[in-house]
C-alpha cells in the first residue's frame, strides 16, 4: 500500500484513540472535583488533567488559570489546542478523506457522522454539565463505534495492522502519561499514608482507563496502589495496560513483517520493550523508581513511533 495511506491510517486511529482518552480524562476529573475537598485534598485536579493530556505548557499561553471552565474548553473545543477533542475529530476526518479507499464504509460513516454531529450539535460547545456529559459520551461512543467497525469490517491486511499500530501506540502513551502524573499516588503503602483522599484519586485513575470493574475482577481486593500500578503496567489481560498494548504492537508488527517477508528495526524495538515488560515485576519497578521507569517507557514508546514512520510511513 501507499506509504501515505499507511501513515493516514496510523494517525487516524491515533486521533480517535486520543479523543476518547481526553473525554475519559475530563470525565474522571469532573467526578473527583465534584467530591468535597476533605475527600480529595487540595491539589488542582484540572492542572493534572492538563498534564496527563500532555498540554500543561501550551495551556498557559492561552489562559491564566487552570479551572474547570478553561481546562474543559481547552481540552475539548479549543481550536488553539492542536490535540483538543474537536481538533482530533477534525484531523481524523481529514485523514479519513485522504484514505477513503482504504476504509470500509462503516468506518467512514462513523467518522463522517461524528464530524457532522460535531459541526451541527457541538459547534458552540456544551451549555451545561448535562450537555457536557452527553458530549463526552458522544466522543467515547464514536471511538467505540470506530474501533468496532474496524474490527468487524476491515480485511486483515496491512491496512488493518497499521491502523491497530496507531491505536496501541497512542493507548500506551496515554496510560503511561496518567501513570506519570499520578505516580506518587501509586507508591507502596509504607511510603504513603492511605485514606479516603487517596481512595478517590485511585478510583479516578482507574476510571480514566476504564478499569474500575476490571480491578476488582482481577485482584478481588480493595484498592491498593501497587496493585493498581501492577494492573496498568504489567497485566496483559487489561486492554489499556502497557503490557497489553505491547503484546498487540509486537503481534501487529510481526504480521506486517510476515506479509512483507521482511523484519526490521520496528519489530526489534517493539519486541525489546515487550520483553522488558514481561520480565519486570512491581518490586523491581519500585526499586528502580516508578517515575524513572515510566519516563523511560514514554521515551521508548515515542521512539517506536519514529521507527515505524521511518520504516514504513515515509
Amino acid at each position: 500500500m501507499l506509504s501515505r495511506t499507511a501513515e493516514n491510517l496510523f494517525w487516524l486511529a491515533r486521533y480517535v484513540e486520543r479523543a476518547e482518552y481526553l473525554a475519559r480524562t475530563i470525565d474522571a476529573t469532573l467526578r473527583v472535583t465534584a467530591l468535597p475537598a476533605a475527600y480529595v485534598g487540595k491539589t488542582n485536579e484540572w492542572d493534572s488533567a492538563l498534564l496527563t493530556a500532555g498540554v500543561g505548557a501550551s495551556f498557559y499561553d492561552h489562559y491564566e488559570e487552570a479551572n474547570e471552565r478553561n481546562v474543559i474548553e481547552y481540552l475539548s473545543f479549543s481550536s488553539e489546542n492542536p490535540s483538543s477533542i474537536k481538533n482530533c475529530i477534525e484531523a481524523a476526518r481529514l485523514n479519513s478523506r485522504s484514505v477513503r479507499t482504504a476504509l470500509t464504509s462503516e468506518m467512514w460513516d462513523t467518522i463522517n457522522s461524528a464530524w457532522i454531529e460535531l459541526q451541527a450539535v457541538w459547534n458552540k460547545g456544551p451549555a451545561n454539565r448535562e450537555e457536557l456529559a452527553k458530549f463526552l459520551r458522544f466522543v467515547q461512543e464514536t471511538s467505540l463505534r470506530f474501533d468496532g467497525s474496524a474490527y468487524r469490517t476491515m480485511l486483515r491486511n496491512d491496512a488493518y495492522w497499521f491502523s491497530r499500530l496507531g491505536v496501541h501506540l497512542e493507548r500506551a502513551d496515554n496510560t503511561a502519561r496518567i501513570l506519570d502524573v499520578k505516580y506518587h499516588m501509586l507508591l507502596p503503602e509504607e511510603e504513603h499514608v492511605g485514606g479516603p483522599l487517596d481512595y478517590y484519586q485511585w478510583t479516578s485513575i482507574l476510571r480514566s482507563v476504564s478499569a474500575t470493574t476490571a480491578y476488582h475482577w482481577v485482584y478481588r481486593e480493595t484498592l491498593k496502589p501497587w496493585l493498581i500500578a501492577d494492573l496498568l503496567i504489567l497485566n496483559d489481560t487489561l486492554p489499556r495496560s502497557l503490557a497489553s498494548c505491547y503484546s498487540n504492537l509486537v503481534r501487529n508488527l510481526d504480521q506486517i513483517g510476515v506479509a512483507y517477508g521482511r523484519q526490521g528495526a520496528s519489530q526489534r524495538h517493539a519486541r525489546g520493550i515487550r520483553n522488558r515488560l514481561e520480565h519486570s515485576n512491581m518490586d523491581d519497578i519500585f526499586q528502580h523508581g516508578v517515575h524513572e521507569f515510566i519516563q523511560e517507557f514514554i521515551a521508548d514508546n515515542s521512539r517506536l513511533g519514529e521507527i515505524i514512520t521511518k520504516q514504513y510511513l515515509i
Binding site: M1, L2, S3, R4, T5, A6, L94, R97, S98, R100, T101, W108, D109, N112, S113, I116, D158, F162, I256, Y260, Y312, L313, I314
Partner: protein, 472 residues
C-alpha cells in the same frame, strides 16, 4: 425568449413516448412522497460524503450538489444518434491533437489560423513530436450537450482535459435505484455500472511498451482540498487502483514509482486529475507542490502514459471550439453529426462589431474561462454590467467569443411550487482505449434550479439528475 423545448412535453402538451411511464407514475405518486424521497436522498448524499468544494467560499467548504429526483429520460433511438455523434467528435479531437503536435496538416491547409495554436497558453510545445501510445490523447472526454429541439444535439463545450462529474452519474443511479425501485421496475433503463471497468480497461490498454503484462494504473489527485476530491477517491476505489498525490510519486531513471510500505513500485499509467500546469515543477509551474519533479522526462522517455495526455487543452479551448465542424470535416471527410452553437469570434473584426451591437441578446464567454465564471448573459444582465463588459471586450477582443442565448431544453424538476420545467444539459463520458471507443449509456444531467436560469454549473447553483437511456 420563446418557450423552450421540454424533454417530457415537447413544445406543447404532447407527452413524448420515453416519458409516458414516468408521467403515469407521477400522477399516482402524492407530491409529499416525492418531497420525502428528496430529503432521504439528501441525507444519503451527505452521509456518503459526496460533496464538492467551492473555492473562496469559507462558509461552505464542502457542499452538496442538489440532486433532483425526477430523472431525465432518453429513448434508445435518441441515444444511438448521440452516441454516433460523440464517437465521431472524439475521434476528430484525437486526430487533431496528433496533427497539431506532429505534422500540422490542418494549419498548412489554412483551416485554423496558426496564432490560435501557437499563441495559445494551453498549447504545449513540450509535446511537439512526442508520440503517445496508440495516438490517443483524450482517453476520457466529457462532451457537454444541449438541445433546443427534438431533432438536434448541440455541443456546448468539449472537455478534453480532466472532465469531472462521472461519480454523480454513478451515485445518482445508485441512489435512485434505492429510493425508487418500483419506478425502475416499470422501465428498462440501460445500466451505467460498468463504467469503472470500461475506464480501467481503456487505461490499461494504453500502457507504455516498457510496462509489464499487468500494468499498474494509479489515479493522481491534487489532494483533499480539490473541489473534485470526492470523485477522485470514489473512482480510485471503484477501479481498485491507488489514489496518489504528487508526493507519493518519485521519478528515477525516467521511470515513475510510488512510495509504498514495501518500497518503491513502478507505475505505468497515470489517470491524472491534475492540470498540466501542476504536473511537473521542472517543466511547468516551478512553484507547484502538487506535481512530481521529472514526470515530464519520464513521459518523454515513453515510460509512463498520462491520461489524458499533456496538451489536450488546445483541443477544447473555446477559441478552437468554433472550428470544430471544420476539424471534423478535415480529418474524417464526414459531416459532423453533432452541431455546434453558432459562435462569433470576437478576434475577427466583423464578428466583434456584431457582438458589440447585440450584447444584450448574446452570451459572451472568456476563451479561457470555465465553470460559468466570467461570462456575460446579455438578456439577464443589467445595463451597467453590459457596459462594463463592452469595455472589456474592446480592450481584449481576442479573449472572448459570443453565442446566441439558447433556449436550452427543459425537464420537469421538483421545486417549492411542485414540478416545474427547468433548463438542463447533458455531459456523457467518452472513453477511448487502444481498440475501441465506449460510451456508457447515460451521463451527467445538470439542471439550473433557478426559474429561467440557464447556468447549470454546480458552482453557480446548478443541480444534477439521473439520466436514463431506455433500452429498445
Amino acid at each position: 425568449m420563446a418557450v423552450a423545448f421540454d424533454e417530457m412535453n415537447g413544445l406543447g402538451e404532447d407527452l413524448r413516448p420515453a416519458y409516458q411511464e414516468l408521467s403515469r407514475w407521477l400522477k399516482e405518486t402524492p407530491p409529499d412522497a416525492l418531497e420525502y424521497r428528496r430529503q432521504e436522498a439528501e441525507l444519503l448524499f451527505r452521509r456518503i460524503g459526496i460533496t464538492f468544494a467551492v473555492y473562496g467560499d469559507a462558509e461552505a467548504q464542502e457542499r452538496l450538489i442538489p440532486f433532483d429526483v425526477i430523472p431525465r429520460i432518453m429513448s434508445a433511438t435518441e441515444w444511438t444518434l448521440l452516441e454516433k455523434g460523440l464517437k465521431q467528435r472524439v475521434l476528430a479531437l484525437n486526430m487533431f491533437l496528433k496533427d497539431i503536435y506532429h505534422g500540422r496538416d490542418i494549419l498548412r491547409a489554412n483551416v485554423i489560423p496558426e496564432d490560435l495554436i501557437f499563441q495559445n497558453p494551453v498549447f504545449r510545445p513540450e509535446m511537439n513530436g512526442q508520440d503517445v501510445p496508440h495516438d490517443i490523447y483524450v482517453h476520457i472526454a466529457g462532451i457537454d450537450i444541449i438541445r433546443t429541439d427534438p431533432d438536434n444535439f448541440i455541443v456546448l463545450e468539449d472537455n478534453a482535459r480532466t472532465p469531472s462529474g462521472v461519480s454523480y452519474m454513478l451515485e445518482n443511479r445508485e441512489i435512485m435505484m434505492r429510493l425508487f425501485p418500483d419506478l425502475f421496475a416499470r422501465h428498462r433503463v440501460a445500466p451505467v455500472e460498468r463504467y469503472p471497468d470500461e475506464l480501467l480497461s481503456a487505461l490499461r490498454s494504453v500502457a507504455p511498451h516498457s510496462a509489464s503484462a499487468e500494468p499498474t494504473v494509479a489515479l493522481m489527485t491534487p489532494g483533499v482540498y480539490n473541489s473534485a476530491y470526492y470523485e477522485h477517491s470514489f473512482l480510485a476505489d471503484k477501479l481498485g487502483i491507488e489514489l496518489v498525490e504528487g508526493r507519493d510519486l518519485i521519478v528515477k531513471n525516467d521511470e515513475v514509482f510510488m512510495r509504498t510500505t514495501e518500497g518503491l513500485k513502478r507505475v505505468d499509467v497515470i489517470y491524472r486529475r491534475v492540470d498540466d500546469d501542476f504536473l511537473d515543477p521542472l517543466t511547468f509551474r516551478p512553484d507547484s507542490a502538487l506535481g512530481v519533479p521529472g514526470l515530464m522526462s519520464a513521459y518523454a522517455a515513453g515510460n509512463i502514459t498520462l491520461a489524458n495526455a499533456v496538451g489536450t487543452g488546445i483541443a477544447d479551448d473555446k477559441a478552437i471550439y468554433s472550428y470544430m465542424p471544420d476539424i471534423v470535416k478535415f480529418y474524417l471527410s464526414e459531416e459532423p453529426i453533432l452541431k455546434n452553437v453558432q459562435t462569433w469570434r470576437c478576434r475577427e473584426a466583423q464578428d466583434l462589431s456584431y457582438v458589440l451591437d447585440n450584447l444584450a441578446d448574446l452570451v459572451v464567454k472568456e476563451v479561457h474561462g470555465s465553470g460559468g465564471y466570467g461570462m456575460l448573459i446579455g438578456p439577464a444582465a443589467t445595463k451597467a454590467t453590459i457596459e462594463a463588459f463592452r469595455d472589456k471586450l474592446k480592450r481584449e477582443p481576442e479573449g472572448f467569443i459570443a453565442q446566441p442565448t439558447l433556449a436550452l431544453s427543459t425537464c420537469p424538476t421538483c421545486t417549492d411550487k411542485g414540478l416545474a420545467p427547468r433548463h438542463v444539459d447533458l455531459r456523457p463520458f467518452v472513453l477511448t482505449g487502444s481498440s475501441h471507443t465506449t460510451i456508457v449509456p447515460g451521463g451527467l444531467t445538470r439542471v439550473a434550479l433557478k426559474e429561467g436560469s440557464l447556468v447549470v454549473n454546480s458552482s453557480q447553483g446548478g443541480g444534477t439528475k439521473d439520466t436514463w437511456i431506455l433500452s429498445e
